[in-house]
């Protein structure tokens, strides 16, 4: 029995059909079959969030997401966020607020913030909301302090 399967999905808005090893995680397919190396492997068990991507607009750890589950789904990765050479509001906020140090957790964090900001219907977002919605992303460099500011800036870009 072959371990290869055909899957069709859209990646950052572009449709793709791939013939992939069914044993692979979505993270591996993204990195190895599509060359999208933004999502990173930090732990392999869904603990650190460095591999976070959006599947049908839902934030998931791609290291424990079977690639075959991506069939007929829309996948968004960090590589699709900047458009026409311009950073997204979330990306720009991370740059401006000093929320990036080694950068290894950054793509995962930005996908978490992007998901949070896009689904944010509340006018008033509390700090607790921010912390809860990013609790699945670990960072060892920043102490989360400037990331907090970057998320706030993503939601209220005009606030000082």
């Amino acid at each position: 029995m072959t371990t290869f399967r055909e899957i069709t999905f859209s990646i950052n808005g572009r449709p793709r059909t791939l013939y992939i090893d069914m044993r692979k995680s979505l993270l591996e397919v993204l990195r190895e079959d599509l060359g999208l190396t933004g999502a990173k492997q930090g732990c392999g068990v869904g603990e650190c969030g460095a591999c976070s991507v959006l599947v049908d607009e839902v934030l998931v750890d791609s290291c424990i997401y079977l690639a075959v589950w991506a069939h007929n789904k829309d996948i968004r990765t960090i590589e699709g966020e900047a458009k026409n050479g311009k950073l997204s509001r979330v990306q720009q906020a991370y740059v401006d607020e000093g929320a990036v140090q080694c950068g290894f957790c950054t793509p995962g964090f930005i996908m978490a913030t992007t998901s949070f900001a896009e689904n944010c219907t509340e006018k008033k977002v509390t700090e607790d909301d921010i912390r809860k919605s990013h609790a699945g992303n670990l960072c060892r460099c920043t102490g989360y302090q400037n990331i907090l500011k970057a998320v706030e800036k993503s939601i209220h870009p005009d606030k000082e």
Binding site: A82, V100, G103
Partner: protein, 769 residues
């Protein structure tokens, strides 16, 4: 001007777009995967090993054991080579070993076409051991009849002592009070998000190329040469972006093995990509310390004597060895420089994972003990914790009696005053008096730190910078200093821009080090880079500026000394008139058929100074006694690190260090079974470093002094922030509950044990509060 401005990091955009390339991203098609076969016991020797079944598995390219590797031992520590043989690192490592010294020690290695095949091959290796009793506690390690973990060592890696400021025993005797304490810290881990990874291949018959997540590419080159008995010029090490290191990549961990494997496999690319679980026990960790402190204090608040005895446990191999205890011991000499101070340190082998360099390198352990002891001394004479420290801390102009040098810049007094004001210390102390009874208590704590900028005079401090003018009027800067996330490349650009007179945006720093091309620099550690490279940048930028102005002079007929570069434009200093843009000057220098040349400057500079840095942590906590939990209400670090090159980035370094310090204070611990050496929690679920939900706001502030020995007035900052939070938290706990916990981490279990011992909880959990 660029220095002192919070410019955006030069690599921020690359990182937020996911385009920055880390080692795993530089994948070579067909690259082979190598996985270590690791020991399942902590102390012993391999009796028999059978690899035939593993070798026969389809997809396995090779299996090597300790029988197949060179017999020359080497040292893995990320130190520059020492010309003094007595100071050279202990060479006790082989590529693979028959003698087992910790659980996870590397006995054999499988090379296969993919990870699944490699893992299945590992399962087919059969091994039998002669087992010895694991030696884990100091008393067992030093027993007369204890087995020598390394032959000839008596289990001692190193030992030293210093005494300054007079006879310490004499001073203790004359003191009004003497307080004593025993302190303990545990093995913690860096948990950089990117695990160790390296690959190697050959690009001709005798040259090896290594791509690695390392902090020390030039040192890797030298040590791989030593491990394989090859000239180092045949080895090329490339360091792309790395996902954090914190000292764990200041050791040569995977590179000798991948180099060995590619040699054995006809130059094919071979990669070792450690899993998180392997990385947490198979790389390096922090040395646990056992410290005894005696402090002599007078009724009027003067500390007159400090006697410290430290045992440092380095695990199965030396790695950085005794340097950790030595560094921690010496860097504290700046903090309270006006008393008798004796430090004795000893480093032991043990059958636990290898300890190596970790952020602040011995100071977190030493200063934990020291600042807890200082607190005990303050309380002994009923003096306010802040007042007591203000009375005894270093001032500018003090002489560090260990180095013999004057402390040329010191803002610690202002750091304490700033922190005290921020916390509203005096008022809060009064407010919290009513929270000294009951199940919920509140308290305040403070602790200070001192550290150094680089490693001189213990090691050579050398940095290289090469700056070239591009045809478009921008410059490229190449340094040997490595960006590991701390922002080194960004401040390099700021410094170069500052001295050259260019806009920050016109300075491009080459962010990947390549030992074939990059100037020599020993790498990122000891918070050395901004301080040490500052001099190299300053000189190189000054040289290049002169060449640019000389060429402008040639082009215009003006005198170079009447010209300057301001914001990228050549101007006449006498009239402020604009003379020309950089770009036409550059084009002329390259392409004019008779005059000019490529304008570059290349400087290698040795720094022969070392500037101490200072800082403090203030913390406000609530203690829930029945639930054994400490909640941090407010925490601030205030630092004197000289001129702050980039306030936002510097603040980020402080936040990260405080966060690591909080983790070390409250929850981080690699849990090792003292009987077997088994490690329970080498994964990110069971090793508890704080998540986004676990931390309060981390506040920070700076007191800017000007350090004259530095290129731009700056001193070290990357490591110090991790040092003072744990003792500050312990001191706040003491303030809140009257309970001293002198070991880290101050976990809920420790609180439970201490509270039941002190009667605040009955042993079944009735609160007696």
């Amino acid at each position: 001007m660029a220095v002192g401005k919070s410019v955006n990091r030069i690599d921020a955009v690359a990182k937020v777009t996911g385009r920055a390339e880390y080692t795993e991203d530089l994948y070579k098609p067909g690259m082979l995967v190598a996985k270590y076969f690791r020991s399942k016991i902590a102390h012993g020797r391999v009796k028999n090993i059978a690899i035939e079944k593993a070798k026969a598995l389809e997809g396995v390219e090779a299996v090597f054991t300790f029988k197949d590797v060179p017999e020359n031992k080497f040292a893995t520590a990320g130190h520059p080579f020492s010309l003094d043989p007595s100071h050279q690192d202990v060479a006790d490592r082989l590529l693979l070993t028959r003698d087992i010294r910790f659980m996870g020690d590397e006995i054999a290695i499988v090379v296969a076409q993919d990870e699944i095949i490699a893992n299945n091959a590992l399962k087919l290796i059969e091994v039998s051991y002669d087992e010895y009793t694991p030696l884990i506690l100091p008393e067992d390690i030093l027993k007369e009849d204890a087995r020598q973990i390394h032959k000839g060592s008596s289990n001692i890696v190193g030992e030293h002592q210093y005494s300054i400021g007079g006879d310490v025993d004499d001073a203790l005797e004359k003191a009004d009070y003497v307080v004593e304490g025993n302190f303990e810290t545990v093995m913690v881990q860096h948990c950089h998000l990117e695990n160790h990874i390296a690959y190697a291949y050959m690009d001709d018959l005798d040259r090896i190329v290594i791509v690695s997540s390392t902090q020390i590419p030039h040192i890797v080159r030298r040590i791989v040469g030593e491990a394989l008995n090859m000239p180092l010029s045949q080895i090329r090490v490339i360091k792309p972006f790395i996902g954090g290191g914190f000292g764990n990549k200041q050791d040569v961990v995977l590179e000798p093995m991948v180099a060995f494997l590619t040699l054995k496999l006809d130059g094919r690319a071979v990669q070792i990509n450690l899993s998180r679980e392997e990385c947490m026990v198979g790389t390096r960790n922090r040395h646990p310390f056992h410290i005894k402190v005696k402090t002599g204090v007078m009724k009027d608040g003067t500390m007159v004597a400090r006697k410290m005895d430290a045992i440092s446990i380095t695990g199965g191999y030396a790695s950085h060895g005794h340097a950790i205890a030595a560094a921690g011991g010496s860097k504290q000499s700046s903090l309270y420089p006006r008393m008798a101070n004796q430090f004795h340190g000893r480093t032991l082998y043990a059958n636990i994972p290898v300890a190596g360099a970790m952020r602040a390198y011995g100071s977190p352990q030493v200063i934990y003990a020291l600042e807890c002891a200082t607190e005990d001394a303050a309380r002994k004479i009923n003096m306010d914790s802040v007042e007591f420290r203000l009375k005894n801390i270093a001032q500018q102009g003090d002489i560090n009696l260990l180095s013999g040098h004057e402390i040329l810049s010191c803002g610690l007094t202002d750091c304490l005053l700033k922190g005290k004001a921020f916390m509203d210390w005096d008022q809060k102390k009064k407010d919290y008096e009513k929270y000294k009874t009951g199940p919920v208590r509140k308290g305040l704590g403070v602790a200070c730190l001192s550290y150094a900028s680089g490693t001189y005079p213990v090691c050579v401090e050398i940095a290289g910078a090469r700056i070239s003018l591009n045809q478009d009027g921008t410059v490229h800067v190449m340094v040997g200093a490595t960006e590991i996330g701390q922002g080194s490349d960004t401040v390099v650009a700021q410094m170069a821009a500052e001295t050259l007179g260019l806009a920050y945006e016109h300075v491009r720093v080459v962010q990947a080090q390549d030992t074939d091309v990059s100037p020599f620099d020993t790498g990122a550690y000891a918070s050395r880079q901004a301080y040490v490279v500052s001099n190299a940048i300053f000189r190189a930028a000054t040289q290049l500026k002169k060449k640019i102005l000389d060429h402008a002079g040639v082009m215009t007929g003006k005198k170079a000394r009447d010209l300057n570069i301001i914001n990228g434009k050549i101007v006449d200093t006498r009239t402020n008139a604009f003379i020309m843009d950089m770009k036409p000057l550059a084009i002329d220098s390259f392409y004019h058929k008779e005059r000019g040349h490529q304008l570059t400057a290349d400087v290698s500079h040795k720094t022969t100074t070392n500037a101490p840095v200072f800082g403090c942590t203030f913390v406000d906590i609530t203690v829930d006694i029945p639930l054994c939990k400490i909640k941090i209400n407010k925490i601030i670090n205030v630092h004197d690190s000289g001129i702050i090159l980039n306030p936002v980035q510097a603040g980020g370094q402080v936040h990260g260090g405080v966060f690591m310090g909080i983790g070390a204070a409250l929850s981080e611990e690699l849990m090792i079974d003292p009987a077997t050496g088994y490690i329970y929690n080498n994964n990110l679920l069971d090793y508890k470093f704080p998540t986004f939900m676990d931390l309060p706001h981390i506040h920070h502030d700076f007191v800017e002094t000007f350090e004259p020995t530095s290129g731009y007035g700056n001193k070290s900052l990357g490591e110090p922030p991790v040092i003072s939070p744990p003792p500050a938290i312990r001191n706040a706990l003491l303030d809140a509950t009257g309970v001293s916990i002198n070991s880290l981490p101050i976990s809920p279990h420790k609180l439970f044990t201490a509270f039941t011992k002190n009667g605040l909880l009955d042993s079944k959990g009735g609160a007696n509060v």
